[in-house]
């Protein structure tokens, strides 16, 4: 009995990790064989970024059960802080330790933001919480567009005013022009490693005392309190850890761009919503599902390239149809009844 309980969760985790490793191996082999054109090759790092973001958001939405619409904001913080670090240390450090530390910086700074934002946000409920996360995400994006950081002599100055920034000797973060010339350190392998570590961290958390506390809060806050679980502590834990992972994804993202600008298309609420789409389509709460949905939804527009201008329209239609087929009670029952691969649920008296 006890053994079965342990191995069931372990098996499931193993399947998720195996899936990522196999995907990585398949892509690497395909690349060696010259099967991946430059366009698809350019998608590999963003693919890892989006999959990691899906893992991060799934921790908040699926496992903690709170709706966040501002996760692109954490990614933005991670991206800018990591890129800033790389720019400052570029002359004095080698690629490997520098990039490693940059990712760490991105994760830690985003984690601090997650913690600080979490204090007020996690007091709210439901849709109110969702809109406040959206608000924080937009504020971060907005401030990044007016933030100037530069060097004056050997010291670093910052300003929210472009005219004051005129006096700086060398700009590092240049307001609406963002950061240019971040070293291109991101590779598919690094992306794969970040994704893999994120997945392992989240899965290990879920199958632990703290993870169960988080899920208990999701399922029934009042009952969780009644058995002595400190709700705020575990909400903060999930939210902060999620921000750390998003920050690492952002760091990866930043080192894949010629110029890092906080545009709405990259870090706006639309992006946060896209991550949410991954989580929901992947089956809320399933880390593996989130990753699969992130990969499929990122590739669909590429696969649909042959239909030209209609591709985004078709993409939207696919999304709506997928949601209805997956969630409509009648279609669900139909799939359940006609799926030969799925074992029938045990009848409940």
């Amino acid at each position: 009995m006890k053994k079965r309980t342990l191995t069931k969760a372990t098996k499931d985790n193993f399947a998720t990790i195996a899936m990522i490793v196999v995907l990585y191996a398949a892509v690497t082999i395909a690349a060696q064989a010259g099967l991946i054109n430059s366009h698809l090759g350019g998608l590999l790092v963003p693919l890892c970024v989006y999959a990691t973001m899906a893992v991060s958001l799934n921790l908040v939405v699926g496992i903690l059960g709170e709706l966040s619409l501002g996760h692109a904001g954490f990614m933005c913080v991670g991206a800018f802080s990591a890129a800033f670090f790389s720019k400052v240390t570029e002359a004095s450090m080698n690629t490997f330790p520098r990039f490693f530390l940059a990712i760490l910086v991105g994760g830690i700074v985003a984690g601090i933001f997650g913690f600080l934002i979490g204090i007020p946000v996690l007091r709210l409920n439901g849709d109110y919480l969702a809109i406040v996360t959206l608000a924080f995400g937009e504020i971060i994006k907005n401030i990044m567009n007016v933030l100037y950081v530069g060097k004056v002599g050997n010291s670093i100055r910052f300003s929210l005013d472009s005219s004051a920034a005129m006096d700086m000797d060398e700009m590092i973060i240049n307001g609406p022009q963002g950061i240019t010339g971040t070293p291109y350190d991101a590779t598919f392998t690094v992306g794969f490693i970040i994704l893999l570590i994120s997945v392992i961290v989240v899965l290990n958390l879920v199958n632990s005392r703290s993870g169960r506390a988080i899920m208990a809060i999701r399922d029934n806050r009042i009952a969780a309190e009644s058995v002595g679980i400190r709700v705020t502590r575990y909400k903060m834990l999930a939210f902060t850890l999620s921000a750390v992972i998003a920050g690492c994804a952002g760091a990866l993202y930043a080192h894949n761009l010629a110029s890092l600008i906080a545009t709405p298309a990259r870090f706006g609420y639309n992006m946060s919503i896209l991550f949410l789409v991954f989580v929901v389509l992947g089956g809320i709460g399933s880390t593996r599902g989130s990753i699969i949905a992130a990969v499929i939804l990122t590739l669909i527009p590429e696969v649909l390239r042959f239909i030209g201008d209609y591709r985004m329209l078709i993409y939207a239609v696919i999304m709506i149809v997928m949601m209805i087929v997956n969630w409509n009670p009648k279609s669900r029952a139909f799939i359940e009844a006609h799926n030969p691969f799925r074992k029938k649920e045990k009848e409940v008296q």
Binding site: D127, Y128, I131, E138, N145, V277, I320, M323, I324, N328
Partner: protein
């Protein structure tokens, strides 16, 4: 002082437009219990219809407005029937939310295919000229926005409180099952809500593009989000709340843009929302519902 009052009036005008959109958001939330993220894009649909009828087909302005409102109304009903209704019993508000996002993508990309990505110059449809009263110079669109929103809100309040379908909407918003047992058609009421909310979004689209005459497939997205913020600020589900939330938001946005920083105005608007929710976690007019143990 004069410029401050002028700015206040401009803020009131933008706020009125937000209020009209926010009321649509709030009604749909209150009755269908869903966040209709595609609501902002209905604004864009309305503006494009008006643009096509008035500028491309050179038909009278009145006809353009009529088509815009009617078109949005039909779009609203159709979207609800095709995309949202199949998920009403799914038991997951997130599923409907994602579908709404799909609808939003769909509308934006449809507009992109039909009209292209380059912004269209939307010539104002408001027939009034700039009004000069003493030291104040107020554009006609500003006054019209305020007047139209006042008329719409009053009419809506009368409709909800004095008519049978309006009362049915109230009943469905409070308890869908009980309303259904009382013989109220829940499907019909939800359709009606989408129809009214979308028609109002159509009006908002025409007003918005008259005041800010550049029209693109993404025109509705940001005002839609702002209106959502306004609805939450006022207490989501409450129509007077949406009205107040919209006005407050519009005024703050214009004042912040003029006196603090035009680049940070959005950040300031969102900060106000956060501060209000921290003090009143269910918005200005929202009711506190405590979970029964």
């Amino acid at each position: 002082m004069v410029s401050f009052i002028t700015n206040l009036i401009n803020g009131l005008s933008l706020g009125s437009i937000y209020a009209i959109i926010a009321i649509g958001y709030t009604m749909v939330y209150g009755i269908a219990k869903m966040l209709n993220f595609a609501h902002g894009d209905i604004i864009m649909v309305g503006a494009y219809i008006a643009f096509t009828v008035i500028t491309t087909l050179s038909l009278p302005v009145g006809l353009g407005i009529l088509f815009a409102v009617g078109g949005c109304l039909l779009f609203g009903i159709a979207i609800e029937k095709i995309a949202y209704k199949p998920l009403r019993k799914a038991g997951s508000p997130l599923a409907v939310l994602i579908t709404a996002i799909g609808v939003s993508y769909f509308l934006e990309n449809m507009a992109l295919l039909i009209f292209g990505s380059d912004p269209k110059i939307f010539s104002s449809v408001v027939p009034f000229q700039t009004v000069a009263a003493g030291p104040f110079v107020i554009p006609g669109t500003t006054l019209i926005s305020i007047v139209v929103s006042l008329i719409l809100v009053t009419a809506l309040q009368l409709f909800i409180n004095k008519t049978k379908p309006g009362q049915a909407m109230l009943a469905v918003s409070q308890d869908r099952d009980a309303a259904s047992l009382m013989g109220i058609s829940v499907n019909g009421t939800i359709s009606l809500t989408f129809a009214i909310g979308s028609a109002m979004a159509g009006v908002a689209g025409v007003l918005l593009c008259s005041a800010y005459p550049s029209l693109s497939p993404y025109t509705g997205a940001m005002p839609g989000i702002k209106a959502f913020v306004a609805a939450v600020l006022g207490g989501i589900g409450s129509i007077p709340g949406a009205m107040i939330g919209g006005l407050v938001l519009g005024i703050i946005e214009i004042l912040a843009r003029t006196y603090i920083s035009s680049q940070l105005s959005d950040a300031i608007v969102f900060s106000v929302l956060i501060i209000v929710l921290l003090v009143k976690p269910t918005g200005l007019m929202g009711k506190v519902i405590q979970e029964k143990v």
